[in-house]
């Protein structure tokens, strides 16, 4: 298989491959989490909406991972420590408020990042130009729901407040430099903060306080350090594929 030779390359420090893994893993893992909603959404219309977002992300993941090697080998045969996604996207769905807060934080970042990449002429410009339109819709979806949950009932306000607070400490990681990406992380952070703050305020929510990163000097997702729920997520995702080595599906 030519894929194995391609996959072998991932172990060498090729800058654009490292970046493709980081962005591809973000999309893959978030897509998987959103896929867990199937059959559990609060209303039928939202089943369809969440699945659309998950499918967009999965499509992005497949393109990105294929730039780094064989998509299935990378998705199914890497160990947890080899995944390069930010910890934010691997956080469990929680209630609908947690899912929306995660979507708001991530899609705002992803849109800024892809808009920047689409404007350039690097390896990711083509993908980013297509994906930025999808992500713009994801961001809009997250904002619409942030407004409704934040400015809905007392119950929803409180749930949304807790969710935004709980996920806040996973947001800083998105602005770290990524090997192979020529992106001004701090510049993105400033615009991101402005955008997210505006939505939260309109939703009658306070912008969360506290650090945007955990206090572990070893690093986080981009360094292959993940949170406990991620291991279980991967176990579920990979077990069937790994149970039949070499099989085609």
């Amino acid at each position: 298989m030519t894929e194995t030779t391609k996959a072998r390359k991932t172990r060498e420090p090729v800058p654009h491959i490292a970046a493709a893994l980081a962005l591809g893993d973000d999309a893959l893992v978030l897509s998987h989490r959103l896929g867990e909603w199937a059959g559990h959404a609060p209303v039928l219309e939202e089943e369809v909406a969440l699945a659309n977002i998950a499918l967009d992300l999965l499509g992005q993941a497949r393109v990105l991972l294929s730039m780094a090697g064989d998509e299935d080998e990378l998705a199914y045969l890497r160990e947890e420590r080899a995944f390069r996604n930010v910890q934010l996207v691997e956080q469990p769905n929680g209630d609908f408020a947690h899912t929306i807060a995660r979507q708001l934080y991530f899609s705002t970042y992803q849109r800024l990042l892809y808009a920047h990449l689409a404007a350039g002429d690097g390896e990711f410009a083509g993908l980013a130009a297509k994906a930025v339109k999808e992500v713009a819709y994801h961001q809009d979806h997250a904002e619409q729901w942030t407004l409704r949950l934040g400015d809905g009932t007392e119950v929803s306000h409180e749930r949304m407040r807790r969710a935004c607070q709980a996920l806040w400490r996973f947001t800083g990681e998105m602005f770290q430099p990524v090997e192979g990406l020529d992106v001004d992380g701090e510049g993105i952070r400033a615009v991101w903060l402005e955008s997210v703050s505006a939505v939260l305020r309109q939703a009658t929510l306070d912008v969360p306080e506290g650090p945007q990163s955990g206090a572990w000097s070893a690093g986080a997702g981009r360094q292959g350090l993940h949170t406990e729920p991620f291991g279980r997520m991967l176990a579920e995702m990979q077990h069937l594929h790994r149970s039949h080595p070499g099989a085609s599906w």
């Binding site: 059959g39 559990h40 299935d72 609908f96 099989a247």
Partner: protein, 352 residues
């Protein structure tokens, strides 16, 4: 689907029950003539109460089947063994939500709200297809559902595209068009397994063994025991009998199974030259009735999950309703007359 129109018509009818009674005979004749002439009945047309009730029951059961049917397949989304298969399965389960939605909309044109129907589903007063009370134990079950369950469903549904009730027929046209990929992906999935490793082949055969008979039961009881069939045929809600459709399905499946390299678990299955059809063995109707009664392997689990999703979503639906209420300037659904005077430029009517 002119639900609103229907609601208006109902209000009018309730306003003048005497008129309605006087016109009933003429209406009934017009209705019978329309059905006989293969014309479509539309939401605001007069229709016999029993026709309306039959349709609500059938469309609701169909809608419930779509959304309960999401569960056994969604069970494998997180474990799909390749990213391609994962995307296909997600899209398929999403379609089922969409189809449920189309069908609830069709039922709503008959004056029954989705909430009412969901409530009946959750409390067990309305049924869904018994097939979804069987578990998906291996990945091959996803393929077997696509090939056999969707195959049986399509055999049932294609004639419904010509059903006498307009909104149902239109929903079915859309559903059949979208569903054409569902059966194919299942067949392709099984084919990959059947031609794969010995373990994969065995997985595929095991799934077909478990899903074959329940798929045949999907066509309902034999014609001589089917309580609703005759009337539904006269009303052209139904176009073919249960046994007729079942036979059609068996005839289609046998060569498909051969091409897959899998066997169908029926020793009595053989070509009957005289009939021009395949003969097949006796269906275990006791199992069918028991599963229908609630004693299937997953009845409890399916309804519990459905109820939980609905209950856990209550605060979300309430939040969105409360938000809409607060921002009524943008909302023309709550109190139109007030809004129009208050806010002449209604930005609720948006063009994308």
């Amino acid at each position: 689907m002119a639900t609103a129109a229907h609601r208006i018509a109902r209000t009018r009818e309730e306003d003048s029950p005497a008129d309605e009674a006087a016109l009933a005979a003429a209406y009934e004749a017009a209705f019978d003539a329309a059905v006989a002439a293969d014309e479509r009945i539309e939401p605001r047309d007069w229709m016999p109460d029993a026709y309306r009730a039959t349709l609500v029951r059938q469309i609701a059961q169909h809608a419930h089947s779509e959304i309960i049917g999401m569960q056994p397949e969604a069970n494998w989304i997180t474990r799909a063994p390749s990213l391609r298969r994962k995307a296909i399965l997600m899209a398929k389960v999403q379609d089922e939500a969409g189809h449920g939605l189309y069908l609830y909309s069709a039922a709503e044109t008959l004056g029954t709200s989705r909430d009412e129907l969901l409530d009946k589903l959750h409390s067990g007063r309305q049924k869904y297809s018994s097939i979804f009370n069987y578990p998906t134990l291996t990945w091959a079950d996803v393929g077997a559902i696509g090939w056999l369950v969707d195959g049986a469903a399509i055999t049932n549904q294609v004639p419904l595209c010509r059903c006498s009730y307009g909104p149902y027929a239109r929903a079915m046209v859309r559903i059949c068009k979208e569903e054409s990929f569902h059966q194919r992906q299942g067949y392709e999935l099984l084919q990959a397994l059947s031609r794969g490793t010995p373990e994969q082949h065995e997985m595929a055969q095991d799934a077909v063994n478990r899903w074959w008979w329940p798929s045949l039961m999907m066509f309902g009881p034999p014609d001589d025991q089917s309580q609703h069939s005759a009337q539904s045929m006269t009303w052209k809600i139904k176009r073919h009998s249960n046994d007729e459709l079942r036979q059609r399905f068996v005839d289609i499946c046998v060569p498909q199974a051969e091409s897959l390299g899998l066997t169908l678990p029926d020793p009595d299955l053989r070509w009957n030259e005289e009939r021009g059809h395949y003969d097949f063995g006796e269906i275990d109707w006791t199992e069918f009735r028991e599963v229908l009664k609630g004693n299937g392997p997953c009845n409890e689990q399916r309804i519990t999950q459905r109820r939980a999703a609905h209950d856990e979503g209550t605060w979300v639906r309430e939040a969105a309703a409360a938000y809409a209420e607060k921002h009524t300037a943008k909302d023309i659904t709550k109190d139109r007359s007030k809004d129009i005077t208050k806010d002449g430029a209604k930005d609720g009517e948006t063009t994308a």
